[in-house]
């Protein structure tokens, strides 16, 4: 906790209005930890065409909360995590065992899982209680949650160091990767499980409706202006951090939802990168 105290002191020295509030200091620290994490995960989500998959994962949180309510959990994070992990492992198995069109499978699953969640949560008109999960609320983040983000950021960083090159081969060609003795099934499964952890642990910050944009936009923007993995990764992290910090501060002054404001900044980055990419390729 000494780290948190030091952080509070540091931010208080800033000559801004928002820098006096503890909730803004917490939110800023959370953003600084979570946005680079999202950027890294996003680069692989975009490269492996998993955008729809992560959307399903995000929306499974709704069903996770519902299951938690049914089973009488005070904090639904555990059922959410279990459901998301089961879902990602299941989808990955299905993808490897069948040659079915994942697009359709995911579409069916998406509809089912959202409907199930809404049906359970809307019993006796109680759905309004859960809207904060839909749009997210980064300002209520606690130092304890920040601790969790720190742990998962460290885990993702370590994973990237260990499995980074294997992930590249797997995304380029599964057969090629396997011929090089890369266990593609393990790479894909471990990545999707990690993805489930990241998405669910940060769902309260970002919100079910927009968490996917936070994952996808920085990587998509970086892709427009990158010619190699170093630039791709670097730009994604920079764009994600920039949108995160500016979106959070802008939302303070505008009185808007932070998550959605961050997404708007990321979308603006995407537009700029698409333009500059198009100009460069002329």
């Amino acid at each position: 906790m000494a780290v948190i105290e030091a952080w509070y002191k540091l931010i208080s020295m800033l000559p801004f209005d928002w820098a006096h509030y503890v909730f803004m200091k917490n939110a800023l620290l959370a953003v600084l930890l979570v946005t680079p994490l999202f950027a890294l995960m996003g680069t692989m989500v975009v490269s492996n065409r998993m955008v729809f998959f992560t959307d399903v994962l995000g929306h499974s949180a709704l069903t996770g909360i519902a299951v938690g309510v049914l089973l009488g959990f005070h904090d639904p994070v555990l059922p959410m995590l279990i459901l998301a992990v089961l879902l990602s492992v299941g989808i990955n198995l299905l993808k490897n065992l069948t040659r079915a069109s994942m697009d359709t499978v995911l579409g069916v699953l998406f509809a089912f899982i959202v409907a199930l969640g809404i049906v359970i949560l809307s019993r006796q008109g109680g759905f309004v209680k859960y809207t904060s999960y839909l749009i997210g609320d980064i300002l209520t983040v606690t130092p304890q949650q920040i601790g969790w983000f720190f742990a998962i950021a460290a885990a993702v960083g370590l994973y990237w160091v260990i499995a980074g090159n294997a992930m590249i081969f797997t995304s380029v060609s599964q057969s090629l990767a396997r011929s090089r003795k890369v266990n593609t099934f393990w790479v894909e499964t471990s990545f999707t499980v990690l993805l489930a952890l990241v998405v669910i642990l940060s769902i309260k910050l970002a919100g079910i409706l927009i968490i996917n944009s936070l994952l996808v936009l920085p990587a998509a923007a970086a892709r427009n202006i990158s010619r190699n993995m170093y630039a791709y990764t670097g730009w994604a992290v920079i764009i994600s951090l920039f949108s995160g910090v500016s979106g959070l501060i802008a939302s303070y002054y505008w009185g808007t939802a932070s998550g959605a404001t961050i997404v708007l900044f990321a979308a603006a980055c995407y537009a700029v990168s698409a333009l500059s990419g198009a100009v460069r390729n002329r």
Binding site: W160, V161, N165, F169, S179
Partner: protein
């Protein structure tokens, strides 16, 4: 000399591969000797890609596949594989250097490729006339350039068996001749067996030691010269020769029920 199998590196015996109710390969026997370049030729849907995927261990099969490395049996030989296509869209921000560096080093390439590694990657590519492509994006390469880069990766480290899947697809004539010359050269510099799968019989005949005509089973095999004269037959009778099929059900299933593309 063939089938003496003292230096038989890869031995496929009575191989049958099924997908659901369709039989893709039936009773295939294929021996590949060390230092030999074998061209497997067949029409679309003949099961060529399936054959390679089975050798790679990606498909369930009946029959036996055995490998020998340096004279003794090996369960886990090093296989170099050049896929026909990549599951990669054109905009993917992966450079040639990224891919080669991932192949030769454990250092994660997203953290940047240092000078030392870049020089090493360049050396790997130089053997395959692809050094100048180092900074290019994979998606920007021409068909021939991509084949040479993938070959460079497949040859690093040198495998016991090299599998090439349709190297002719999307490659212009000049690029293809260069590619085949390089492959032919590998046979002399490395003691490896090479299996090259293609539908282009005329194109490969001067670069391979042996040709195997495959259409769900082995129809004919032999010296390129003999098979080529056979091809005159093929021309005389038109594509009817390809209709000779080993499987009664392949006609019932219609053409192209399966295969790589």
């Amino acid at each position: 000399m063939r089938n003496s199998c003292e230096h038989c590196c890869t031995k496929i015996e009575d191989l049958t591969v099924k997908s659901g109710r369709n039989t893709i390969l039936s009773g295939v026997n294929l021996h590949v000797n060390c230092g030999e370049v074998v061209g497997v030729v067949g029409p679309n849907g003949a099961g060529k890609t399936t054959l390679l995927r089975t050798i790679l261990g990606e498909t369930a099969f009946q029959g036996r596949i055995t490998f020998r490395v340096g004279g003794s049996p090996s369960k886990n030989p090093k296989i170099g594989y050049v896929p026909q296509k990549l599951q990669l869209d054109q905009g993917a921000p992966i450079s040639v250097a990224d891919l080669v560096a991932s192949a030769i080093s454990r250092r994660p390439v997203w953290a940047g490729i240092n000078k030392d590694l870049s020089v090493k990657a360049g050396k790997v590519l130089a053997v395959f006339a692809a050094e100048h492509l180092l900074k290019r994006k994979i998606g920007d390469l021409s068909g021939g350039e991509l084949q040479r880069v993938l070959l460079a990766i497949a040859m690093t480290p040198a495998p016991d068996l090299l599998l090439l899947d349709e190297p002719a697809s999307g490659v212009d004539v000049k690029g293809l001749a260069l590619f085949y010359r390089i492959v032919r050269g590998l046979r002399q510099t490395h003691d490896i067996s090479i299996v090259l799968v293609t539908h282009d019989l005329a194109g490969i005949s001067s670069y391979v030691d042996r040709i195997v005509l495959l259409n769900r089973c082995v129809i004919a095999e032999g010296d390129p010269k003999d098979v080529l004269s056979n091809e005159k037959l093929l021309e005389a009778f038109g594509p009817a020769l390809w209709n000779i099929s080993c499987l009664p059900n392949s006609i019932a299933n219609g053409k192209d029920a399966h295969g790589g593309h």
